[in-house]
């Protein structure tokens, strides 16, 4: 008579590493891991050895040496006497500026285009499809160059503003000059008492928020709809203007004026920054538009229909019902688009915008010959920027995502 017993517990034998499917994959993974480590060690060792033999030591001393070149856009003070390290910082800030501006405008363009791609209006829908396809399928470098060359050829040179009968004129009561070298804007000059004006401005912004909250509460509690647009606008402008008048214009404007070869005074936004910014936003905007469209289509049609049945207008359906739900689908791919903008901003050198790649990875690298050090540092900087963007966007994603209870 046979009885059912527990199967005999097999002891581990070495051959099982190959013969037993439970262990076999582990064996191969281990072998692969050892091979990868050995290869990396070999390549790294080869590099170090060759460097040592060529008398090239990895050294970052060059960052403290005098740079000797000038940079056209300086968020922090810098001249040719400063160090390569400072030049790299200027480049880093320039990268951050264009990446930040690009992310904002690309998002705005993308959301608008994405929503309009689903418009019931045939023409609007087709125009947006055309926009998305044409921008998404041509390399961004080409767009940067096209936009830049259109800009330098279409906008007037500063020379055109000169003379008794200039062929070009400034905009908005001679306060803004658009040239092919950049846009010159009035710059606020902070006189005595300007702190008070700024304080009033901040207070009015807070006021607008409080007012809107009150209006919302009224709507929810009592069903009364208070108009918010015009009062907000009034709150935004009137207190500041009053403060300016009462205090005797502590905040004045410095207007750009044509002096010598260029406009001087005011704030300059370089043509290269505008071209790069515009090209990056419009290019990435096309990708974001597709993400937004995907997000909207992911929201069940029933939601739209239910909102419509409640009597909401199409604009409100989109803003209050569809987009908040679509965001959960949109945000994760949006993060990678933001990373793309940051990385694509390294094409800045094509239009002479001195970003991190242009300074540290360009002139510094070529003048010092420290290619390995510069490129490693460059990689580190981009890695840090990208990981930071990911980190912040992931926090935002976590606050937006569906909370399962």
């Amino acid at each position: 008579m046979t009885t059912l017993a527990d199967p005999h517990k097999e002891s581990f034998r070495l051959s099982m590493l190959l013969n037993d499917t439970r262990y076999r994959s582990l064996t191969f993974q281990f072998i692969a891991l050892v091979a990868i480590i050995a290869t990396m060690a070999f390549i790294g060792g080869n590099l170090v050895r060759n460097l040592a033999e060529a008398g090239l030591n990895i050294s970052y001393d060059f960052l403290g040496a005098q740079a000797g070149y000038d940079i056209n856009q300086r968020p922090i003070s810098y001249d040719s006497q400063d160090t390569h390290g400072r030049a790299a910082m200027v480049g880093l800030l320039n990268t951050l500026i264009v990446a930040f501006l690009g992310c904002i405008t690309a998002t705005i363009i993308g959301v608008i285009a994405g929503v309009l791609r689903l418009s019931p209006n045939w023409l609007v829908r087709k125009i947006m499809a055309f926009y998305v396809e044409i921008f998404r399928n041509v390399p961004v470098l080409i767009w940067i160059l096209i936009i830049f060359s259109i800009m330098i050829n279409a906008a007037p040179a500063p020379n055109a503003f000169r003379g008794d009968e200039p062929t070009a004129s400034m905009w908005l009561f001679d306060s803004i000059a658009v040239t092919n070298r950049g846009v010159y804007l009035p710059k606020p000059i902070w006189g005595a008492g300007s702190l008070l004006v700024v304080g009033v401005f901040i207070a009015s912004i807070i006021g607008i928020f409080l007012f809107r909250r009150y209006a919302r509460k009224q709507l929810f509690d009592h069903g009364r709809l208070i108009p918010t647009f015009w009062p907000s606008l009034a709150l935004f402008f009137i207190p500041v203007i009053l403060a300016q008048l009462v205090l005797g214009t502590p905040v004045s404007l410095e207007y750009p004026a044509l002096k010598g070869f260029n406009f001087r005074g005011g704030i300059t936004i370089l043509g290269s920054l505008i071209a790069l910014w515009f090209a990056l936003s419009i290019y990435t905007g096309a990708f974001i538009a597709e993400n937004v469209r995907a997000g909207i289509l992911a929201v069940s049609k029933g939601q739209t229909e239910a909102a419509g049945a409640l009597g909401l207008r199409p604009g409100r359906i989109m803003n209050l019902v569809v987009l908040p739900q679509a965001l959960r689908v949109i945000i994760p791919p949006l993060i990678s688009q933001y990373l793309n903008i940051t990385k694509n901003s390294s094409l800045a050198i094509a239009v002479g915008y001195m970003d991190l790649t242009g300074t540290l990875g360009g002139i510094t690298l070529l003048q010092t010959g420290r290619a390995i050090e510069s490129v490693l540092l460059l990689m580190l900087f981009y890695l840090i920027i990208s990981l930071s963007i990911s980190f912040i966007m992931n926090i935002y994603n976590n606050t937006m995502k569906l909370k399962e209870r």
Binding site: F42, I152, V375
Partner: protein, 393 residues
């Protein structure tokens, strides 16, 4: 106008650095010679290789790869043999500077630097057309040379200490004495570079230009807005559109690019020359025989002008003359050719392509051409210039 260089720059410069490392390392061969980086290894290094192998015996794995590396390294020969075996000279030139190196309407490269390539090709291979022209940008040129992609770089390259010593290249002479100049539209009414306070200046990056510029403006305490641009063509585009007031690069390149403008007379070169830019052909460190060939081919062109050997009387003079130096140059006397490892008629072949230095100059960039450069510093030393060749003896 599209510049691929900007995209590939990091890759290339990285490669460049590795290329340099491989190209200029001391006596020991690399553990593994990557194909792109291999360069001629002398047979005499075998002893060192063996020592290397012994050192590496600690690790069988690494040892095996070392042997592979040695075999790969030993397979390549000296540049001269490589060129002869290939039947073509790989010569690095610009991506297009009128007068210096530019393909003509039928796609044939023409120009002052191109003539140097052709002369070397003729000296080595007997055929001035046996040249593969490799267009290089300011940033890719050293990579191309260090990695062995080209045998000779004749591309408006300034001979500087750091390029010669640190980047480990061998300049084989000067074929054009240049200096950094400024070009402005005539209508600006600027007479001197010192009047350029506040001007926007277009610069070609990847060169010594931006440093010279910064120094000049600082020394004169005037301000400027730099616009760094990757290639000459893009810089010209911006300059013509008025996006910058001034365009600065080597004076010869300014004159050359101005010749292609719609109205060259509307632009002037300012009198200030802010730097010394001796331009010349260069080769890699380490292959002195090849450097000698490049150096003495250029010297042959220069000497020929000095001695009055031209493309017209070349055949006649090569039959033998009373002047021993001409005879030595043209190979009817002495053993100069075989000392270089070339035929006796090497210099005759080099001169047969486009004549002597003076003829090449006049034909490509001289006063009668659209470029219209005067000889100036580039006249023979006998005419008060700096062009001077060591004697052929």
């Amino acid at each position: 106008m599209l510049n691929q260089g900007s995209i590939w720059r990091i890759t290339l410069t990285f490669q460049c650095r590795f290329g340099l490392i491989q190209a200029h390392r001391g006596e020991k061969p690399p553990l593994v010679s990557l194909p792109a980086f291999t360069r001629p290894e002398k047979p005499s290094r075998k002893g060192v290789d063996h020592q290397e192998e012994v050192n590496m015996k600690k690790s069988v794995f690494l040892g095996a790869l070392t042997v592979a590396g040695i075999i790969a390294g030993g397979a390549s020969a000296a540049t001269l043999d490589e060129v002869k075996a290939r039947g073509k000279l790989n010569c690095g030139v610009t991506t297009g500077v009128p007068g210096f190196a530019e393909p003509d309407a039928s796609g044939v490269w023409q120009g002052f630097d191109v003539a140097v390539c052709r002369a070397v090709a003729a000296a080595v291979l007997g055929d001035g057309n046996a040249v593969e022209f490799v267009p290089t940008t300011g940033k890719t040129r050293f990579t191309a040379l260090a990695s062995g992609e080209i045998d000779l770089l004749a591309r408006n390259t300034t001979w500087t200490f750091s390029r010669d010593v640190d980047l480990k290249f061998e300049f084989t002479g000067v074929n054009y004495y240049d200096g950094q100049g400024f070009m402005v539209p005539k209508e600006l009414g600027v007479a001197s570079a010192k009047d350029l306070d506040g001007a926007t200046v277009c610069i070609q990056t990847g060169t010594t230009t931006e440093l010279n510029l910064a120094d000049f403006f600082r020394a004169n305490s005037i301000s400027y807005e730099p616009v760094p641009i990757e290639t000459g063509a893009e810089a010209v585009q911006q300059y013509i559109a008025g996006a910058c007031d001034v365009y600065t690069t080597d004076a010869s390149a300014l004159a050359a690019q101005r010749a292609n403008f719609e109205d060259p007379s509307a632009h002037v070169l300012l009198p200030e020359i802010v730097s010394k830019e001796p331009l010349g052909p260069l080769v890699r460190h380490g292959d002195n025989e090849w450097a000698d060939i490049a150096r003495w081919t250029l010297n042959a062109l220069i000497t020929a002008e000095e001695l009055g050997v031209t493309s017209v009387n070349l055949e006649e003079l090569s039959a033998g003359t009373d002047n021993p130096e001409i005879n030595r140059l043209l190979g009817t006397e002495g053993e100069l050719g075989s000392m270089l490892g070339l035929d006796a008629g090497w210099a005759k072949a080099a001169l047969g392509v486009a004549g002597n230095y003076g003829e090449i100059f006049e034909q490509n960039i001289g006063a009668a051409t659209p470029i219209g450069l005067a000889r100036g510093l580039n006249a023979q030393w006998t005419d008060g210039g700096l062009i001077y060749s060591p004697p052929f003896r």
